[in-house]
Assembly symmetry: C2
Homo-oligomer: 363 residues x 2
Amino acid sequence: MGTTGRVRIYEVAAHVGVSPTTVSAAITGKRPVAEATRQRIEQAIEELGYRANANARALAYGSSGTIALLIPSLEKSLSQIELEFVASVAEAARSREYDVLVSFSGDDELALSRLIDERRADGIVLLEVFLDDFRVERLRALGFPFVAIGRTARPSGIDWVDIDFERLQWSLVSGLVALGHRRIALISGPYDLLKRRYAPQHRTHRAFKSACTKLGVQGDILYCERNAEAGLRRTAELLANDKMLTGLVVVNELALPGVYRAVAEAGLRMPEDVSVIGQCDSKWSTFLVPRLTAAQFPSIEMGRAAVEILADRLADRALARRGRLILPTIVAGESTGPARVAGSPERRTRRAQGHSTAGHARQ
Amino acid sequence: MGTTGRVRIYEVAAHVGVSPTTVSAAITGKRPVAEATRQRIEQAIEELGYRANANARALAYGSSGTIALLIPSLEKSLSQIELEFVASVAEAARSREYDVLVSFSGDDELALSRLIDERRADGIVLLEVFLDDFRVERLRALGFPFVAIGRTARPSGIDWVDIDFERLQWSLVSGLVALGHRRIALISGPYDLLKRRYAPQHRTHRAFKSACTKLGVQGDILYCERNAEAGLRRTAELLANDKMLTGLVVVNELALPGVYRAVAEAGLRMPEDVSVIGQCDSKWSTFLVPRLTAAQFPSIEMGRAAVEILADRLADRALARRGRLILPTIVAGESTGPARVAGSPERRTRRAQGHSTAGHARQ
DNA sequence: CTGTTAGCGCCTTCAA
DNA sequence: TTGAAGGCGCTAACAG
């Protein structure tokens, strides 16, 4: 089946004794075909193993049945979160009969041009959006169908899917505060990204600060490169400089392993001495729970939603622009309050006592 | 630039005052064009923002400038390793001016047909190869260009890139034995995959057994589903049933977190009581070292090699078939010999003593 | 209901 | 060195 060298629609037509047009009609269903002929055509297609050439069809249709996933690499390494998007978008696209072109682009200008001007994709799913994003502006100006995962400062005119940062940070911070934590820190991405107005970071910071203010606790922000080494080094500094700190909110997935180790190497226990909440992919969280409370990044849900919106738009240009906020699921680990009442310098003294953590003994 | 609605080669030709043929010639360079005209053409292309329609070009050329990455999902979840392939293949392909179509296929028959019969891709990179693989057979029968990441039982007639399992297992097992371990286990994937003749698993088992035999140590094999929960449960059973076990070789990346936790929850220390060597992605290994010795899975190197071979073949059909073995880099953690001389039942007694692991105290 | 004609946008003969 | 004509394989518009 389909193992044949080169079967065109002409071969099928000749085999049945009709014109190529009729075969085309039978396949696309865009015009009526007599039941008898349609059956003979279908049989011939089966026998000859015919499949329409996608390029010829794309040329005739003016569209390629392909959506592109544009992933600018912020730095060299990809987080698990970003990679999960690929899988979820690919799967969602497949169920709607779209192919997926991935573009890990360093040069967005060129990549966009390939996709749009060369007509390689009918629509685009955009990752890693900035508050001011030239890609978004350009796509909107062109009227090219796209969905942003993340959103610009004023996203009213576009389709997007994003995390509900406000509710997420409120939920995380208020959770720590309810447990008795009074001094917490946000371990974020590098300052450079913030300066470039990387949207998730901006919204996270604003939401974190806002939550801390409303709840009356001190919340500092630590900038940290997106890798484990930086996480280790920066967190070690943080813990050494601020002995009153008892709660960490980590939104830098790639740094998380380092944070984890820094806490351990400082002789502190999780969660008794320091409670850590991490926003990360579900695989990491599986690993880190029960010591960690994890906000599981909803890559799969977001990827699916993006493709759904994009496919709808490709099918019908008349839709209103859509935005969708998604709240990550929070998997509660063994978070507890600080071992001593926060405010006393007791936290670090436990270190000298050399207590055991074997077996993750609870209480 | 390139922001224009629809610029065809005709527009460029008209703008310059030559025929489309000449413009085409200037672009492809497949026939001489006067220097003066070529310059005017290039300027017009720049001004008008012209880019050749990829579908039309593909139709005329008979090839699409696209390679496909075919990723059968063995189970639901993708390991970090598999996902790294996507990134490395995409990057390598980009530098050779190929687009990458990803296909996370459940139904390979259909996916292959889309790619080959519908001419969506010029070549294929195949992941997750089995010893007998119908995809390989079919692609070979068709003479369709492809590179397998992994290899069939007798891969002489195909292009492939694979791990050097023999040398890897020898190196891992002999390393443990040199440290004094006499009883070790391989934590592998599920039995189902082995039965289906999943190639990496077969080769790993054979190499592991062979190394154990040559070195005169007992090496058992534990089958384990590819997720953290199974890793935890199965490893806990293993440790409980075999108190003499002191060394683990884990080739199941998705189970590794569970293995790690099982060791901790059994009250055993790594590496003093149990030495663990894991074959996993570099991000995991960053997290796990220093307690773990890691064989870093060379996804990036393999992805690059695959694209390189494939691109060469697409450029020139006359090449001899190529195979390439790659040996993972081994990052040595704190592996040590067993705490007591192997052979005595001492390993487990340490548990009752309730010693501390705080700060990963060395010695 | 079906066939003929024309065109999607590019490339490649073949003449000039 | 250049242009005109024809084709890649399919679909859309128009007759019949």
